[in-house]
């Protein structure tokens, strides 16, 4: 693997549409569940171990060669909220566009043909990692990190939270990111042997419910 390529892909400025999404933080802020750095830390920890773990495993399994069409269906089954499924596919399509320009690959072209309106973002992420010469662990780290970095930067805008405090939240989560990435790679290997039913199905009901409420707001800063 190329550590340089990993940094390019993991960079929050990688132009794949993430900046317009809050990862559920906007709904949580409005509901009063995230009010500052401490509750942001709780929110991110919850998201990391649920949606983050599932995303990281999907990405790792995709790198390991599991059929992306099956992974995409499994991602649908693990995402009860229609609004979140729409957001995941939109982000998948945007990532696909950015990646096909940066790391062109026949595999990405084939997935784009299969899903012209977008596959689930973590599945695309796995194939992008492959195209960039990265491994399952790299893809799992990217997905796990994205699951918390998005809400943290969104909360800086939503609450005018001190950006240093938000970044410190992420730094404190680093050991747990390592743990989730390890678990995701391990689970990804099981998926290779046992099929997609071996994917984790850790769910965060408040993220799903919040996403449905958020999608109906007339005024909001973020798309999800």
């Amino acid at each position: 693997m190329s550590r340089g390529a990993l940094l390019v892909l993991a960079d929050g400025r990688f132009p794949a549409g993430g900046h317009a999404h809050s990862g559920g933080a906007e709904a949580a802020v409005k509901a009063g569940r995230v009010t500052g750095a401490a509750s942001l830390g709780d929110f991110c920890r919850g998201r990391l171990h649920t949606a983050g773990l599932v995303s990281a495993t999907l990405a790792a399994a995709a790198v390991l060669g599991v059929d992306p069409v099956e992974l995409d269906a499994a991602a649908d089954a693990r995402t009860p909220s229609p609004a979140l499924r729409v957001a995941a596919r939109k982000l998948g399509r945007q990532l696909m566009r950015a990646a096909r320009a940066t790391w062109p690959s026949a595999e990405l072209d084939a997935l784009a043909r299969e899903f012209p309106k977008g596959a689930h973002q973590p599945v695309v992420l796995g194939l992008v990692a492959r195209a960039a010469g990265l491994g399952a662990e790299d893809a799992a780290y990217c997905a796990a990190y994205e699951s918390v970095s998005g809400p943290a930067s969104a909360t800086v805008r939503l609450l005018s939270l001190d950006p240093f405090d938000a970044t410190a939240v992420l730094a404190r989560l680093a050991p747990e990111l390592d743990l989730v990435a390890d678990r995701a790679v391990e689970a990804g290997r099981r998926v290779v042997d046992e099929g997609v039913d071996a994917l984790p199905c850790a769910s965060a009901p408040l993220l799903e419910i919040g996403a449905e409420a958020h999608a109906a707001w007339a005024v909001r800063l973020f798309a999800s």
Binding site: R93, P104, A112, A218
Partner: protein, 225 residues
């Protein structure tokens, strides 16, 4: 792994002039400028002026609502399927310059669903004087300022004022009421922009958007040539 461009897949990348089926895509013109300068009103007027002679569509990039898209829908300047709203996470300048993927998706979907199109107007939500469109998203851009925002804006410059393909100074009818000196604005704009064109307009007069519409037609002729 290789880094050469391949464009034989299902979606074109950024600025490619042709769609996957080999047809020429629509000309894309961006409209940016500060909040309240009259971007949406200019887009609405352009739609009314051009919709009978061209097949056109609009993409809006609102800051935190769908206000601009809804204004255009309410005014019925185009059928609703020709107006798409992109959500920008409170940062229109990111969506039109640094991370253009959502806008590219919107323009491609419009071409797929209501095409063939001659022209797509991509409107940015009101932003600051440095907000410009990526060349990967639009072929030409219009920067809209207004006389009531202060007649020193052309002098202050910034990427929008100095580099936009067309600078529009809007609401000239208000100049006497807000003490703006149109002559000074024209001289400052000339100093900042050299040969790049500037249009002074008031959408409340009979001429309205005619000069901007004529500029758009000229861009379209050059694009189609």
């Amino acid at each position: 792994m290789h880094l050469d461009h391949t464009h034989d897949g299902p979606a074109a990348v950024s600025a490619d002039a042709h769609r996957i089926d080999g047809t020429r895509r629509a000309l894309r013109i961006g409209l940016g400028g500060p909040v309240g300068s009259g971007k949406t009103a200019t887009v609405a007027a352009l739609c009314r002026a051009l919709r009978d002679e061209l097949s056109l569509a609009v993409v809006t990039n609102d800051i935190y609502t769908r206000e601009d898209a809804e204004f255009l829908l309410r005014e019925a300047v185009l059928p609703p399927e020709r107006i798409a709203a992109v959500e920008t996470g409170a940062c229109p300048h990111t969506a039109i310059r640094d991370d253009i993927s959502a806008n590219l998706e919107a323009v491609e979907d419009l071409e797929d669903e209501v095409g063939p199109l001659d022209l797509i107007l991509v409107e940015s939500g009101g932003d600051n004087l440095t907000a410009t469109f990526s060349k990967g998203l639009v072929d030409a851009q219009i920067f809209v300022i207004d006389v009531a925002g202060g007649d020193d804006i052309p002098r202050k410059g910034g990427p929008g004022v100095t580099t936009a393909d067309l600078l529009v100074v809007n609401k000239t009818d208000l100049a006497p009421y807000v003490g703006s000196d149109l002559g000074r604005m024209a001289a400052d704009a000339k100093a900042q922009r050299a040969e790049l064109p500037v249009v002074f307009q008031s959408l409340r007069t009979e001429a309205g958007v005619a000069d901007v519409a004529a500029w758009v037609r000229a861009q379209l002729s050059a694009w189609a040539a």
